[in-house]
């Protein structure tokens, strides 16, 4: 009953109206923003990445100076509990942030491919579509890839992102993880599919913002 009520409440909220109904229901009421501690788990790793324009830059350019939500994907991923779930959550959050003026300019998203051979900058640009365009809704969403597996490795290992190649060699088996990074570049929360829900992430973002005040 509580679960249904919560799902209904979230779906009714303008912030999540378009996407939350597509997400697994949140079966608990998350603790209020600022009522708990997000630990400094580790510094976000450093490495070279490529933007959709093909230009190289250090990843730290995208993980410092603001609150960052970073997720690994590969564009051909079809596991409903993997990349597509992360995408839906990011979309829901983007809507939520767009509707909250006090969050404008405070948060950015980074989507980083762990399939550099297939996910070229051109492919990432196509994958990003209109998402990569800042339409004045207060959130920049950056899509990145890497030049090679060699350049990707320090990032994947540094984040502790589990990924394996399936036996047929065609798919990347991975456990969904999304990383919340503070303005100083420290990873403060890591979400698996069980905890990746826009309301939980939004509360964590507000918790980090409360630290800055």
């Amino acid at each position: 009953m509580k679960r249904l009520a919560l799902a209904a409440a979230l779906a009714a909220a303008p912030a999540f109206a378009h996407h939350v109904e597509l997400l697994p229901p949140l079966d608990f009421v998350p603790p209020a923003p600022g009522s708990y501690v997000l630990h400094h788990i580790m510094p976000a790793p450093e490495g070279r990445v490529l933007g959709v324009d093909g230009r190289a830059a250090p990843l730290s350019r995208y993980t410092h100076g603001g609150i960052t939500l970073l997720g690994f994907i590969y564009t051909t991923c079809s596991d409903p509990d993997g990349c597509p779930l992360a995408y839906r959550v990011f979309d829901a959050l983007k809507e939520a942030i767009a509707s909250r003026h006090e969050l404008h300019g405070k948060v950015r998203f980074v989507t980083l491919s762990f399939d550099p051979a297939r996910d070229t900058p051109e492919v990432m640009k196509s994958y990003a579509g209109s998402r990569a365009l800042d339409k004045g809704n207060g959130l920049r969403w950056t899509f990145l890839t890497t030049r090679s597996a060699r350049e990707l490795m320090p990032l994947v290992e540094g984040f502790g992102q589990d990924v394996r190649v399936t036996r047929n060699g065609r798919e990347l088996s991975h456990v969904l993880k999304v990383f919340l990074i503070d303005a100083g570049g420290d990873v403060r929360e890591i979400y698996s599919s069980n905890f990746l829900h826009p309301q939980v992430v939004l509360n964590d973002i507000e918790t980090l913002l409360a630290e800055e005040r």
Binding site: M1, K2, D27, F28, P30, P31, S35, Y36, V37, H39, H40, I41, M42, F114, D115, P116, A117, R118, S148, A149, R150, L152, M153, V156, E157, G160, D162, V163, R164, V165, R167, N168, G169, L172, S173, V175, K177, V187, I190, Y191, S192, N194, F195, V200
Partner: protein, 427 residues
């Protein structure tokens, strides 16, 4: 392009080359990839015995794949070079490392099982638990994303049972400490922990402190005052906030906690060591968490001392080991409100940990409880025994005699597999 792609994936796979090991039905839900086929190895965290081999605690790897030439044999042993009452261990969420610790010290040994799952390698020690938290005797190692939550049993101040949990990053950096609650019915003791992420619930149980568990059992049970110093509670925590929400009365030292892995279920079960009872923890119709005594294990008046449980992946059955009578019991959990024992067998003169494969067809049992609680003389068997379970009978398939092999006291187990290692084919 296709060739380049496969090359990149192969490179990535070789570079990542992850391990694949787990104690399959009781792992943290955050641990990636379970072994759903035949496991290759059982890692046995082993207490050193003075005068036996090098006398040190060690991680012993046993080959348990029937198709292997070394089936049922020790294929690797990594000594810690010290003796610290080796007890439990756990995988990090990325399955690259095993964290293992002892109850008489505050050192945690971190073994790399990614490089070669057949030959774990000691790569790091974490030794600031006492300094940072004041806790002593790390017991449970429970993976959270990028972190390890460690439940301790005691404290450095008086070595009693007031204790708590410590949170570390996977890199071994201390992050936080949480004392077990002593208000609102809390007794401050700790033992095991297990999470239900979908409910945002962390559940903890309670045992006793260093002063008791390091004392010879024969002395301890004659000391009425000391016997009062055992936990009688479980605590429901807000997992996200790591804050206690409710203390449940579960008298008699509730030990291992197992959440049902059946997606339709919403309950956990535990066994009380001193009470010899199974307790069910579940939400009532109003969403409130409750604990209920759902049945006896053997004859509680004889103190069979339930020491470990292992739940089936569908939540429909439970193995229970009782140390004193050396019995392995199977309970039908079709109705978790009324477990029904359907099988029992003496599997050793003393038995402790029990682990089953994901498919439930293989069951592994070890012998040691605690160095000073194990039996003496001929009853002090030390082993790992592997059994096949056909639903009706446990049939022993192999045994490693840890006394004969000069290894020590066999305690906690984790399963390992080379099959889940990253391999790109066709590239």
């Amino acid at each position: 392009m296709r060739r380049l792609h496969c090359f990149a994936l192969t490179t990535l796979a070789l570079a990542l080359s992850g391990p694949a090991s787990a104690d399959e039905t009781c792992n943290s839900p955050y641990i990636s990839k379970l072994i759903k086929g035949q496991e290759d190895y059982v890692y046995v965290w082993t207490l050193g015995v003075e005068g036996l081999g090098d006398g040190s605690d060690k991680l012993v790897t046993v080959d348990v794949n029937p198709k292997s030439k070394s089936y049922g044999k020790v294929i690797s042993s990594v000594s810690t070079g010290t003796r610290a009452e080796a007890h439990h261990m756990g995988f990090t969420d990325d399955r690259r490392h095993i964290w293992a610790g002892g109850l008489s010290a505050n050192t945690i040994w971190v073994f790399d099982i990614a490089g070669d799952p057949a030959k774990p390698k000691l790569v790091r020690t974490v030794s600031d638990l006492g300094d940072k938290s004041g806790f002593l005797g790390p017991h449970t190692y429970y993976a959270l994303p990028g972190r390890m939550l460690v439940q301790a049993l005691s404290n450095t101040k008086d070595k009693g049972g007031q204790t708590g949990m410590a949170l570390y990053s996977n890199q071994g950096k201390f992050l936080d400490a949480k004392a077990m609650p002593t208000a609102n019915g809390g007794d401050g003791y700790g033992y095991d922990l297990a999470v239900n992420p979908k409910k945002n619930v962390l559940l903890t149980s309670s045992f006793s402190g260093y002063a008791n568990y390091m004392r010879p059992l024969g002395d301890l049970i004659k000391d009425a005052e000391a016997m009062k110093n055992f936990g009688n509670t479980m605590v429901v925590w807000d997992l996200k906030a790591l804050k206690p929400q409710k203390v449940l009365s579960v008298p008699g030292a509730p030990l291992e906690i197992r959440w049902s892995l059946n997606p339709k279920d919403n309950w956990a079960i535990t066994a009380t060591a001193l009470g010899s009872k199974l307790w069910l923890v579940k939400q009532d119709a109003g969403g409130d968490w409750t604990a209920k005594d759902v049945g006896a294990i053997g004859d509680p008046s004889k103190i069979p001392l339930p020491v470990d449980i292992s739940i089936r992946r569908d939540g429909k059955g439970l193995w229970v080991n009782t140390f004193m009578d050396g019995k392995t019991r199977y309970f039908d959990l079709s109705n978790p409100e009324a477990p029904k024992q359907t099988y029992e067998k003496v599997t050793g003169k003393q038995v402790n940990m029990i682990s089953q494969s994901w498919d439930g067809k293989r069951v592994y049992i070890t012998s040691s409880l605690l160095a000073n609680w194990d039996k003496g003389g001929a009853d002090n068997e030390q082993f790992i025994r592997g059994f096949a379970w056909n639903g009706k009978e446990l049939a022993q398939k192999f045994e490693v005699d840890f006394n004969k092999e000069q290894l020590g006291r066999a305690h906690h187990m984790k399963l390992g597999s080379k099959a889940l290692q990253a391999k790109a084919e066709g590239g």
